[in-house]
Symmetry: C2
Subunit: 494 residues, 2 copies
């Protein structure tokens, strides 16, 4: 009668992505792998999202080699990745063959569970990837991005769940990337999905912790029948990250649910990352408490800091409040997309443009594409007047088809181009790396043989380096005696 709740550990992917700008080096993960592998997790999220980008951009680390390392060190675990549907891990839509090849290669290198989402919740954008996962014989998890708007309803989410299951998904994920999912809707959505699609439909829940309420949401989702939840080991948890794994285990004690996690292993994993975390202090999110204002503004914290720096660059730092008020209006004009990569950046930047230059006087290229349908369908109608502006500005027509249907085969060209790059190793993996990150990959290929970089630093070293930048912060007077002669010396910051 006591139901087992499966757990996905996020330490190796979303936890450090959310808390320390995805900077953790493989070297700092390896020592924890044996404990993670044997702690009893349902899966280990360890790849995809921003980790691929970060590997080649900051860590001089081959992401494919990272995946193979995880496969070797965690032979008993389901390895899990986050895949941005037709975008793969990049920032544009790829032609279907590229999607197929990426998924096949990821599977071949060791990936087991593919969590596939689309920023607009347009199921057409995840269809190809999910089919590829099924062909590879792996676990396809269809994802619903949770958001709140006048148009988002429990029924709508259930409809999307049905559409995803119709694609052959093995499970569903309700993904709450901004910590907006409150306990009651968590309960209602999971309950309704289970009711409409059957108790056997596996439902996973992914919540961030930012607003402080989502451990309660996990509890209510479990009461409603959720099969699995995502957590991060406590030393890599909370703030803009996730709920702590140990707290989940303890929360369920005495209830009708339990995890089968090995607590002693959890403590070892915790202790390991407690030692690692301070080494990435310079990348750490400043947020350690809760941010409940997100509920009102609907604007994730990371997006606010982005907009703030955009405004400052334009000498308009005082306009932030106006921009924050503009965001929900831009989102409404765009048909209420969820605010998640890349839609959060697209909507946020347009809000900045509106405030600085007048409303829709200038559209960003990406916002124009969003209005014209080049990212896919939104739940709400997009504002016809702004669509017209987008059409005029870009000379492109609005579309209603699946965006990738407009693409022509590109694999051979991507392959040829990659083979011409210095340092490429001739593999399809390299072609995929370069396809997704055309600006960064060439440098990475050239420098790959230098091996992985660890950008973490010993906290004492970091403190010393930090203070040496400007140890004298206020004017100080000294009496300095040199060779018997006394001098009055004033030292001030230059």
């Amino acid at each position: 009668m006591n139901r087992k709740i499966d757990v996905t550990e996020l330490a190796l992917r979303d936890a450090h992505q959310s808390l320390m700008a995805t900077r953790m080096a493989i070297e700092d993960m390896v020592p924890a792998c044996e404990d993670i592998d044997t702690a009893g997790y349902w899966s280990v999220e360890c790849w995809g999202g921003a980790t691929f980008d970060s590997c080649i951009r900051y860590l001089n680390e081959d992401p494919w080699e990272r995946l193979r390392t995880f496969r070797r060190l965690m032979p008993n675990s389901r390895l899990q990745m986050l895949l941005r549907g037709q975008n793969l891990l990049g920032y544009r839509h790829y032609e279907d063959e590229v999607v197929d090849r990426f998924v096949a290669k990821a599977a071949e290198n060791g990936m087991d569970v593919f969590r596939v989402f689309d920023a607009l919740n347009d199921v057409r954008n995840v269809k190809q990837a999910i089919a590829a996962v099924k062909r590879a014989g792996k676990h396809a998890q269809g994802t619903i991005c949770y958001t709140v708007s006048p148009l988002h309803t429990v029924e709508g989410y259930v409809k999307m769940a049905k559409d995803l299951m119709a694609l052959g998904c093995d499970s569903l994920c309700l993904k709450d990337m901004a910590a907006l999912l409150k306990p009651q809707p968590a309960y209602d959505i999971v309950k309704a999905i289970k009711k409409e699609l059957g108790q056997d439909t596996r439902v996973h829940l992914h919540c961030h912790a930012t607003t402080g309420v989502t451990l309660v949401s996990l509890m209510k989702a479990i009461e409603a029948g959720a099969d699995a939840v995502d957590t991060a080991i406590s030393s890599l948890s909370l703030g803009p990250g996730h709920n702590p794994t140990e707290s989940l285990v303890e929360m369920l004690e005495g209830t009708a649910y339990h995890t089968e996690l090995d607590y002693d292993r959890l403590l070892k994993i915790r202790d390991h990352f407690a030692g690692v975390r301070p080494r990435y202090a310079e990348f750490l999110s400043g947020i350690t408490g809760v941010e409940t204002e997100i509920f009102k503004s609907q604007i994730p914290g990371g997006m606010i800091s982005n907009m703030e720096s955009q405004l400052k660059q334009q000498g308009a730092g005082d306009k932030l409040k106006e921009v924050l008020e503009e965001v929900p209006r831009v989102r409404a004009v765009a048909g209420y997309p969820p605010l998640v990569t890349p839609s959060s950046q697209i909507v946020g930047t347009q809000a900045v443009f509106n405030v600085l230059m007048g409303r829709y006087k200038v559209l960003t290229a990406e916002f124009a594409d969003l209005m014209l349908g080049y990212y896919g369908e939104t739940i709400g109608e997009r504002d016809p007047e702004v669509i017209e502006i987008a059409e005029r500005q870009t000379k492109k027509p609005p579309i209603t088809c699946r965006p990738a249907d407009l693409l022509t085969p590109e694999w051979e060209q991507l392959r040829t181009e990659t083979l011409g790059l210095e340092g490429n190793d001739g593999t399809d993996e390299d072609v995929l790396t370069r396809a997704m990150f055309p600006q960064v990959a060439p440098t990475f290929f050239r420098e790959r043989e230098d091996g992985p970089k660890n950008v973490g630093r010993d906290p004492e070293e970091a403190a010393a380096a930090g203070s040496s930048a400007n140890p004298v912060r206020t004017p100080i007077k000294y009496r300095v005696t040199v060779n018997g002669t006394s001098h009055s010396v004033a030292v001030a910051p230059a």
Copy 2:
């Protein structure tokens, strides 16, 4: 049908006591009082606990004047305090007349709700205080300290609830000072109390946040019928503190429960304390994440750091693990007291003695008293062999009566002694201050007229002061001008 949940705001007492060593000055609270007064809280906890001690020991602030200030600035609020039963706010048992007079004076100066607890859950130790509150026409809240042991059961807590209500309490508080209360026991205990004592019996829940699970416990307690919960505004929440007020409000949205708090006021309160908090950086608890190990060790975080420093003073810093293992054994020998001030210190120090000098070779005076019954009754039988050692060591007999029954009238003597102190103002309030803090009060009386001290510091000043201790950590070059001649000077640590 949607039930209103009452909220007690902790910002002005337990929040800063838990997060910043009770150091917040009245000056930093005053600007928030109007918003707190009108936000719609059921009560405002703002006095008692360690605040009285801190006022006279560190802040040169008259605690009675602080209370009158709150009364003046929050005319619409129930002011609430935490009262340690027969100990009042001090560290020994007081004779009944002193208890009566303290409660009367607190009521006269503006206190409305008295939350009365005893560290051993011995109801005889709260009886006099509760009777005094009732005589003053104020709200008496009987308190159950929550703890976990082989002897603590839901039935036991219900029994204690009945005993407290039989004293005439207006409400009950289930007090979880170490964040040990998991969701299921929270539900079970509240449900059972409501069932046995009637739905009209008001139940309040006080939880700390340390282990990360207790917002879920608040939710389950509310589902079980709890009438009120304690929270702290988000900018003074989490870590060893409490769950954030805003998160509670948001958590309940869409459920069968709601608060009637004014969210705009909450945000103003939040912003105020967000500005105050960094000024107390040097007192801030280092814990910002969760500490789930408390569930295993049963030892609150503050207690561990105490024992650590005791061990280091004895040059036995390497013995901490042994001591941590000894604590549960000492607690069992002592009949499973809750670990809360002062029992946590008494048990912890004896565990240190046992490890350093051999088991029960030397008892601390306080532990001997605990074993002999001078703090009251414990839930479990105390070890007869150790009682015998205590008897031999102290030459005192074990007792079973209410400890305060052994005390003779002391008010007149306390009064006479206080009136002899320089700077006393002749009031009964001063007599009470000095009765509770005989070591600290004389200095306070002498220096009182200097007025309140604010020990908070501007973060930049604090950083500058901190770094001046060793400003040069790595070689630095300066251009230094002396008597009109410019020199290039290199400075490095010696």
